[in-house]
């Protein structure tokens, strides 16, 4: 009880970032993510960390990448319009394998849309927003407590796989206040990037290692290397040598998607014991869970698979979960961005419950959809 207080999702994100060891925040405040910047601005100077309000989102992500290259844990927080502006540089972080975290508190789009209101419209953008082939990791929390732990996990995954990681909050969770019961001194696992053990002259910053993740020296520690947005060889210099280019591009995707079983997480309810399966994430998963409980109380066998890891998609897991179900129902705050991915994976249509009017999907909408399919 001692630690129980009412905390907002965005504040939990800020607290999680500090717990993970975030040393730098560079950002340009934007609704509905602004509270993250506000909390970082207040807390970071008190722990000797650095908060900088940048001139825009492009500068923000650029500074994040620079700080992260020196070995600091760095992140930014934004929403739709800012997330769009950051896409090119997220590609830079991907090709140069710079660990960093981008928090996107999704709001209604496209464009300026409805700044204060909720949506889950950036699901596909989080995966494919930046050009070229590379994998990405994106996580989506469903509660304030989970936002705290998931933010820590984002930093850990970024460090472990040398990749930008996206925390996909939605406005509902970012602005939701609920019970928060975390001991600030609790011990949590903190992962730091692998360091080179070789002599500086032997260091290959983009080495094709067995685990697909090369060691990353901190800038300024004597391991000199070249960092470029151009496709590069293991030393970091521009390369258009076919086998090198091929090996590099394949490794960028393989280092994440080839290791999916090491980090992919979901919360499953009656997935093996149901006829109708909801697949839902973020705020909407709470609606789906309540609908599931209502329907099960009526004797209708309903389950819920809640991917905590939105990207990459765990094809084997989704396929197995959907096998033999009478229907798969995907409720979300967009016109079917994740449903489309589920359909691709399972090779057949799913039932959609979509809302793009800024209100959260209602429990009765999910209940009605199952009853409609039942007939």
């Amino acid at each position: 009880m001692a630690n129980v207080r009412l905390v907002q999702g965005n504040e939990a994100c800020a607290l999680g970032a500090l717990k993970a060891g975030a040393y730098n925040f560079f950002g340009y405040p934007i609704t509905p993510s602004t509270e993250i910047a506000e909390h970082m601005a207040e807390m970071m100077p008190k722990c000797g960390a650095r908060f900088v309000q940048m001139e825009d989102e492009i500068a923000s992500i650029g500074a994040v990448i620079g700080a992260a290259a020196t070995g600091r844990k760095a992140f930014t927080a934004t929403s739709g319009p800012g997330f769009s502006l950051m896409q090119e540089a997220i590609g830079f972080a991907a090709i140069d394998e710079v660990p960093c975290v981008v928090v996107d508190v999704q709001r209604m789009g496209p464009c300026t849309g409805l700044p204060t209101l909720s949506a889950q419209g950036d699901i596909q953008q989080a995966r494919f927003g930046s050009h070229g082939d590379h994998a990405i990791i994106a996580l989506a929390p469903s509660s304030v407590m989970e936002t705290y732990y998931m933010t820590i996990q984002c930093f850990n995954l970024a460090e472990k796989y040398r990749t930008p990681v996206i925390l996909l909050l939605d406005e509902e969770i970012g602005h939701l206040r609920e019970r928060f019961d975390v001991d600030p001194d609790e011990e949590v696992e903190i992962i730091n990037r692998k360091q080179p053990t070789c002599a500086p002259e032997d260091y290959l910053p983009y080495e094709n290692t067995e685990d697909d993740v090369p060691a990353m020296a901190y800038w300024g520690k004597g391991y000199r290397y070249h960092m470029t947005g151009l496709t590069h060889n293991q030393k970091g210099y521009y390369s258009s040598v076919l086998p090198e280019v091929d090996a590099f591009n394949r490794r960028l995707t393989r280092k994440i998607e080839g290791h999916i079983d090491e980090f992919w997480e979901s919360e499953d309810f009656f997935v093996d014991d149901c006829d109708y399966l909801f697949i839902a994430y973020g705020s909407v998963a709470r609606t789906a869970q309540e609908a599931m409980e209502e329907l099960r109380a009526e004797g209708i066998k309903v389950g819920l698979l809640r991917p905590k890891t939105i990207w990459p998609i765990n094809e084997a897991k989704i396929k197995k979960a959907c096998e033999g179900k009478k229907a798969v129902i995907v409720p979300e705050l967009n016109l079917g961005q994740y449903a489309r991915e589920i359909e691709r994976v399972i090779g057949k249509p799913v039932e959609k419950v979509t809302r793009v009017d800024s209100e959260l999907v209602l429990v009765e909408e999910c209940v009605d959809k199952v009853k409609e399919v039942l007939k």
């Binding site: 009412l6 204060t116 509902e172 939701l176 206040r177 609920e178 709470r286 309540e290």
Partner: protein
């Protein structure tokens, strides 16, 4: 004594009236009492005006759907908020109207309570700044959602000490009005 019912509450008003803050204080007090609560809000891009709604769920168990679609308790502190949300109230629910706001709703318990006027009367400068704290008092006077100790703790968590102390008389005035209020039906 606080009760152990499950409550779905919506506080609505004009941006700047502090309905979100009142909702935060109520939800925080519920946590202090060892209960579970969620608090959410919907507001427009304007920092003043517009119709703001803040919602609180209070329960002893887990709260999944975090918002309030059909409130059992609806507070309207501006004419616009009554027009916008008046029809959302659950049948048999409780509607609280501030002063001359709205005409009431059929099939519910209506209360007309001079929340903002009471605040102005109590404030030495005639300000309505603490109307949200009067409203919090009214709500707890009507329902006793949370204990007085929890409200004390919540006020101190949400305001600086001096401001919290100044707010006591506003809360108490609201609580008394809530305790003594008589409903009317349409």
């Amino acid at each position: 004594m606080s009760s152990h019912e499950k409550y779905k509450i919506r506080l609505s008003g004009s941006g700047g009236q502090g309905v979100i803050k009142a909702a935060v204080m109520l939800a925080e007090a519920a946590l202090v009492d060892g209960r579970n609560a969620t608090q959410s809000q919907v507001y427009g891009p304007e920092s003043r005006g517009g119709a703001t709604r803040a919602e609180v769920n209070i329960s002893d168990g887990p709260i999944l759907f975090p918002k309030v679609e059909n409130p059992g308790i609806l507070l309207c502190m501006s004419p616009e908020s009554f027009e916008k949300f008046g029809a959302d109230i659950a049948p048999g629910g409780t509607l609280i109207l501030d002063g001359d706001v709205g005409e009431g709703t059929k099939g519910v318990k209506n209360y007309r309570i001079p929340i903002t006027d009471t605040c102005r009367d109590l404030d030495p400068k005639g300000s309505d700044l603490s109307a949200n704290v009067v409203a919090l008092g009214v709500l707890n006077g009507l329902f006793d959602f949370v204990s007085r100790d929890a409200i004390v703790e919540s006020l101190y968590r949400n305001f600086k000490k001096k401001v919290a102390e100044l707010n006591w008389k506003f809360y108490d005035a609201g609580y008394e009005m809530g305790k003594n209020a008589k409903p009317f039906e349409l």
